[in-house]
């Protein structure tokens, strides 16, 4: 996170991590399509000819504070990055991960990919450790993508695992746009809750803590309300992660 008082800006960095071909870029593309261009910029993708992410993708969102003290004119800039999933781009992954405020882990639901998901998660943990960040303190949500495919892990299995786990879990079919906004808002929710508690960001923006997500939904031109989006979360401890400390 960066706070620039002179520029009246707060910048957040959110990273989509996960194994190769799990649909990180597809998530960003869908997010780009599902949001209005009033608040989001161009999607920057750097891909090779076979559609594999080379360095990263980046989608910038710009939210303007609208509240009682909107005259403060503060802007919340959110940059969403994806990492290249291929194993060989390890150093690039670490560079992109640097300074991340929260991570959405995009897992592939196919049963055959279970091991790759686990390996990528260990890679995430290792890279964070190299960067001097403990995964414990990092807001994290998990998305099980590709729900539309056959031979995927069952809903029951995922729900059962999610109940045991700490991270909020979302199910998605990013290629159809399903679950994409839900995952993003889940991610924004956990990131915002932690950073607001630590840095009183709401105060800086001149809004109520609980007003950010509805404000984001409005400015991104969404028709669904935030509660509906977040309610699709299975298992994990979204609310507990989200609970602002007293």
């Amino acid at each position: 996170m960066q706070i620039n008082f002179g520029g009246r800006e707060i910048a957040l960095k959110l990273v989509y991590y996960g194994p190769a071909l799990s649909g990180k870029t597809t998530n960003l593309r869908s997010l780009h399509q599902l949001t209005s261009d009033r608040s989001r910029g161009r999607l920057m993708t750097l891909e090779t000819k076979d559609d594999r992410t080379l360095f990263f993708d980046m989608l910038p969102l710009t939210l303007r504070a609208e509240g009682e003290r909107q005259a403060s004119g503060m802007t919340l800039r959110i940059k969403i990055f994806t990492v290249p999933g291929q194993v060989l781009h390890s150093s690039t992954r670490r560079l992109v991960l640097q300074g991340a405020d929260a991570v959405a882990f995009i897992a592939d639901s196919q049963t055959s990919e279970t091991e790759h998901n686990a390996a990528s998660f260990l890679d995430l943990r290792e890279n964070l450790k190299d960067l001097g960040v403990s995964i414990k303190g990092l807001p994290l949500v998990i998305q099980f993508n590709k729900r539309d495919l056959e031979r995927v892990r069952s809903d029951e299995e995922i729900s059962a695992l999610a109940r045991r786990g700490k991270e909020p879990v979302f199910k998605a079919s990013a290629v159809a746009g399903d679950g994409v906004l839900e995952t993003f808002f889940g991610l924004l929710h956990v990131a915002w809750t932690k950073l607001d508690a630590e840095h009183q960001l709401a105060k800086m923006l001149g809004i109520e803590s609980g007003a950010l997500l509805p404000m984001a939904a409005r400015q991104l031109g969404l028709t669904k309300d935030v509660a509906t989006l977040l309610s699709s979360c299975v298992g994990g401890r979204l609310d507990q992660q989200a609970q602002a400390p007293p």
């Binding site: 960066q2 620039n4 800006e9 910048a11 960095k13 910029g41 161009r42 920057m44 750097l46 080379l54 360095f55 990263f56 980046m58 910038p60 710009t62 802007t75 800039r77 940059k79 990055f81 781009h89 150093s91 690039t92 670490r94 560079l95 992109v96 640097q98 300074g99 190299d130 960067l131 001097g132």
Partner: protein
């Protein structure tokens, strides 16, 4: 293992970098874009960065402007207007009108990228469509100007409705935005690429460091092993000499007559003592070869007598086993620089080995030829014309019809103590030292040894030894 945080911090670059027009736009290209705008619409444009520097312009001086500039007061007023337009802030709305005293006007528009202001676009001067006549402000600046002429020239100025100008400007802005996006993406990519390369390099350096450490440690251990081997072998040899000596004296009856059984026992002690000694000598040789302390007493020598001696030494063994042993030296082979004793050891060992692994009824041949450099060995046919004459070699082949050596084992058999099949030690005996000593001795002669197949059955050990390079004295003798 702890790794320091990456040395290269690209956080700012990737995270929330501020884009500067100056960094990512090609000025010449931008100038061309402005010119094409002027060609298309007839209205001049200028582009300034947010820092205020002019990045591109396509100036067209209107005739009215030229006319106004003919007078001192006109020039002054014109400069003030243009200067004002240049420094005009387009404000929150990003669009302001900057009028000129001639009735023409400028539009100052904000250039934004990624939600931030990066520069200004100035369109004009043009005459708004609703301005019909030269205004009084023109003559307030310079009363001496001719009204009729001014009116005539004003009509020649580019004329547009404000909405039309806005549409043109919007078009230019979207083209610029695309250029900025592409430029920015390329900029970020190259920065990221550099950072990735640096990061990978850092990682590799770290790994190299660790590998080098491990390598150094292993080298040191290897040296310690060799020196231990040499010391122990030396210490073992001393008492063994006594065992061999006294058992020999006993068997010769120097301490009184022995009965046949006793003689048999003592003979076994003597024989096994001899075997142990040759093993220890082998270890000593290896130790010396590895530590580089073995000195070859080389001189110009003929190889053929050495080979003959080897054959005559081993002929009884071959006869006993029922293996045909032949020497094949077709043409005279040239002398080489070598240590005859050590070369004898090499070929004795190889032929002995061949006999050992060749069953009764088989054949072992020792063949010597002059050979040119093997093109594969010399690294292909490139430059063979030049290299071949300097690479004449003596090639000796030890050919057997024995059990053969599988290709994947061919390099490892030269490792000390290596046995292809440890069970064969029982069947064929041997310590696994012979070939490693042979290889080192051959290499000590600047030669090479390799293994080939003997189709359909058996092994060929190929030893190549270089011809001596003629010394000055020898060269002059030849001349």
């Amino acid at each position: 293992m702890t790794v320091d945080a990456p040395a290269v911090l690209v956080q700012d670059l990737l995270f929330d970098e501020r884009v500067r027009l100056e960094d990512i736009i090609d000025r010449d290209g931008l100038g061309e874009l402005c010119k094409s705008f002027v060609t298309l619409f007839g209205i001049p444009v200028r582009i300034y960065s947010s820092a205020g520097s002019l990045l591109a312009d396509a100036p067209v001086e209107g005739e009215l402007c030229a006319y106004v500039n003919t007078t001192a007061a006109g020039r002054q007023a014109c400069a003030a207007t243009v200067g004002g337009a240049k420094s005009r802030d387009p404000g929150e709305s990003g669009d302001v009108v900057h009028p000129c005293f001639t009735g023409a006007t400028y539009r100052v528009l904000a250039l934004d990228y990624d939600g931030r202001r990066v520069g200004r676009l100035i369109v004009g001067p043009f005459v708004p469509a609703n301005v019909q006549d030269v205004p009084a402000s023109l003559f307030a600046v310079e009363p001496a100007l001719d009204k009729g002429r001014a009116r005539e020239l004003l009509a020649k100025m580019p004329r547009a409705k404000p909405q039309t100008v806005m549409r043109m400007a919007a078009h230019l802005k979207s083209a610029l935005d695309l250029l900025l996006f592409s430029g920015h993406r390329a900029f970020v990519t190259s920065q990221m690429h550099l950072a990735s390369v640096r990061e990978s390099y850092r990682e590799l350096e770290e790994k190299n460091g660790r590998l080098q450490e491990a390598f150094d440690r292993l080298k040191e251990l290897d040296r310690l092993k060799s020196s231990f081997l040499a010391t122990v072998s030396h210490e073992l040899r001393t008492p063994l000499t006594s065992i061999i000596g006294y058992s020999e004296m006993l068997s010769e009856g120097l301490a009184g007559e022995l009965n046949p059984e006793q003689r048999e026992f003592v003979k076994t002690i003597h024989e096994k003592g001899g075997q142990l000694l040759s093993l220890i000598m082998g270890l000593l040789d290896l130790g010396k070869l590895e530590s580089g302390t073995m000195r070859l007493s080389t001189r110009i020598m003929g190889l053929e007598p050495v080979l003959r001696e080897v054959i005559s030494t081993l002929t009884p063994v071959a006869l006993k086993k029922g293996v045909r042993l032949t020497l094949d030296v077709a043409a005279p082979i040239s002398d080489l620089r070598g240590d005859p004793e050590r070369l004898r050891q090499v070929f004795l060992n190889l032929v002995e080995n061949a006999l050992k692994f060749t069953p009764s009824g088989g054949e072992v041949t020792l063949r010597a030829r002059m050979a040119e450099a093997d093109s594969a060995e010399a690294g292909g046919d490139e430059g063979l014309t030049l290299l071949a004459p300097t690479h004449a070699r003596v090639e000796v082949r030890v050919i057997d019809t024995g059990i053969g050596i599988p290709p994947r084992e061919r390099l490892r058999v030269f490792d000390a103590f290596y046995q292809i099949d440890s069970s064969s030690t029982r069947e064929f005996g041997g310590t696994g030292l012979g070939l490693s000593i042979v290889k080192r001795l051959v290499e000590g002669h600047r030669g090479a040894i390799r293994i080939e197949d003997n189709d359909p059955r058996g092994t060929v050990f190929v030893i190549t030894l270089p011809q001596p390079e003629p010394t000055m004295a020898e060269a002059s003798r030849v001349a």
